[in-house]
Symmetry: C2
Subunit: 315 residues, 2 copies
């Protein structure tokens, strides 16, 4: 179990490198949902996503403890950029294994942080083999996207800030995050458990990647019945580690359709005038879908990121 102190130390460690992102509210969306919503805007975070937190917390410790001289990971998404960004902060080389089908813009972003991109076939097996190959050749240390206590402790700091900035006078009734591999959700649930134990943590998950809700019920790591969702950051499956934390500290997982995700995303763009990626809209979609669950409640939502391809918007 990750201790409260471990999360606070992670926060102190990464604070010089991250933005204190704002917590925004919106009258129209409150009226439409019937709840009082507070959006923790990690789309404004370094690299455009909360993943900078976990990546930094892991990489900074690898450097400080002299655990290795290089970093590696596999990711086609925000974690790739997070690790590349973090490695640059400590002046270590990073080797990012990315599927050859990943968008050019994502590879360019990783290269832009000075990291090396190793292309592989677009399968989990090929990605893991690519990382093992990097480790064999360079001795690089793996920073897993979510199955890593240091990454989880880093992700937990977003909820810490949310509660500090908007939960002091009156605690949140609910804090929400989307769930993919469960790094953010498990970290968020731990932070809330320590800081505001009366607050419930509720996750949003796409119907088209609905593994977490099955695992949450059965207690085993389950696979999604099918993978097909606009929320491209949430396609991964929980690990034993994240599932254990989530089962202990999360009250519920609510699923939403792609149509509901896109409608919520569009509502945020139109009304809040902020750019968020589809994964970020999943919790709001769940609030709008289940009005009765959230009516009159004070709800904090972690807005996970804003990295979208403006040429391929879903609306």
């Amino acid at each position: 179990m990750i201790a409260f102190d471990t999360i606070l130390q992670a926060h102190d460690r990464i604070r010089p490198y991250i933005h204190r992102t704002p917590v925004l509210t919106n009258q129209t969306i409150n009226e439409r949902s019937g709840a009082e919503l507070f959006f923790k805007c990690e789309n404004f975070q370094k690299i455009g996503a909360f993943k900078a937190r976990g990546g930094l917390n892991a990489v900074l410790q690898v450097a400080q403890n002299n655990e290795g001289t290089a970093i590696t990971t596999h990711s086609s998404g925000n974690h790739a950029q997070a690790v590349a960004f973090a490695a640059r902060q400590v002046g270590m080389p990073a080797y990012i294994v990315m599927p050859r089908t990943a968008p050019r813009v994502k590879k360019d972003a990783v290269l832009g942080y000075g990291a090396n991109v190793i292309e592989c076939e677009p399968t989990l097996e090929a990605r893991e083999a690519g990382v093992l190959d990097v480790i064999a050749k360079t001795g690089a240390v793996l920073v897993h996207p979510f199955d890593d206590d240091r990454v989880i402790a880093g992700q937990a700091t977003a909820a810490i800030e949310l509660m500090e900035d908007a939960g002091k006078d009156r605690p949140f009734d609910v804090v929400m995050a989307p769930v993919g591999g469960g790094g953010l959700l498990s970290g968020t649930s731990l932070a809330v458990h320590y800081v505001s134990p009366t607050t419930r943590v509720i996750a949003g998950e796409p119907e088209g990647a609905a593994d977490a809700i099955l695992s949450f019920r059965s207690g085993q790591v389950e696979k999604a019945p099918y993978i097909n969702t606009v929320a491209d950051g949430l396609m991964t499956t929980l690990s034993e580690r994240t599932l254990r934390i989530i089962r202990e500290n999360v009250a519920a997982i609510l699923t939403v359709s792609d149509e509901e995700i896109i409608a919520a995303m569009k509502l945020v763009w139109e009304r809040m005038k902020i750019v968020i990626e589809p994964s970020s809209a999943v919790p709001l979609a769940a609030v709008l879908k289940h009005e009765n669950l959230f009516a009159g409640q004070k709800v904090g939502i972690i807005v996970t990121g804003g990295n979208v391809d403006l040429g391929k918007l879903p609306f």
Copy 2:
């Protein structure tokens, strides 16, 4: 000449009804431009644009001074929403004359604030005739989009806040705004003149609506050689009133192409993760075009609004 006190009184008058919008910075855009940029985010303002300020300042005075029992204006853009919003705050009926070709979404927004929409042919003559008809029938008071001292004083308050929030320790070298009818630019230039007389005010104007630069040179209200620009909020022509203030207090007007506007707009969406309308990107486009003019300078930019049709993005 609008006095400093008039602007400060406008600010006190409208403060309870508006957002104190944030001033944002972005490291990547600073690096790319070579300047130190501060974005005053009026895209987060009520109705999604700075126009709420001028509309409120005029309408609140009409109500407080018992100048009439209804409000009217003609606009197909943000001013229509601003007047409708302001009239609702004081409980007065508003009659907004809009060209029948205006997008449904804009008419719906005005209707959403409880105002009446009167459709007319899409010409300036028809719009003005429509307003005269409303006045004859209802006795409504006209709140012109920019040719009105109360509107100008209201728009000036955005620059006041920008300088209060980011110009205290070290004054801005430059404050920038786009120019259409000149309400925002003239107000901004007056605010800067009073608060920070060493700061230069520079405007950005689309090449496809380049009347202000001609009028600025000749001293007469000129028409643009042609009207064709993505910056749909900037198609109007200066008035004698706004031209006079602008000639006295503005240092330069820089024109930019639609291609440059769209590139700047996309850069802001991608890097700052905020939704801004094309008109808002005009000053940044000018900074990126004229690197030598702004290198090393501290530059404040009024980001005018974020009302875009997400189904019709220019990129």
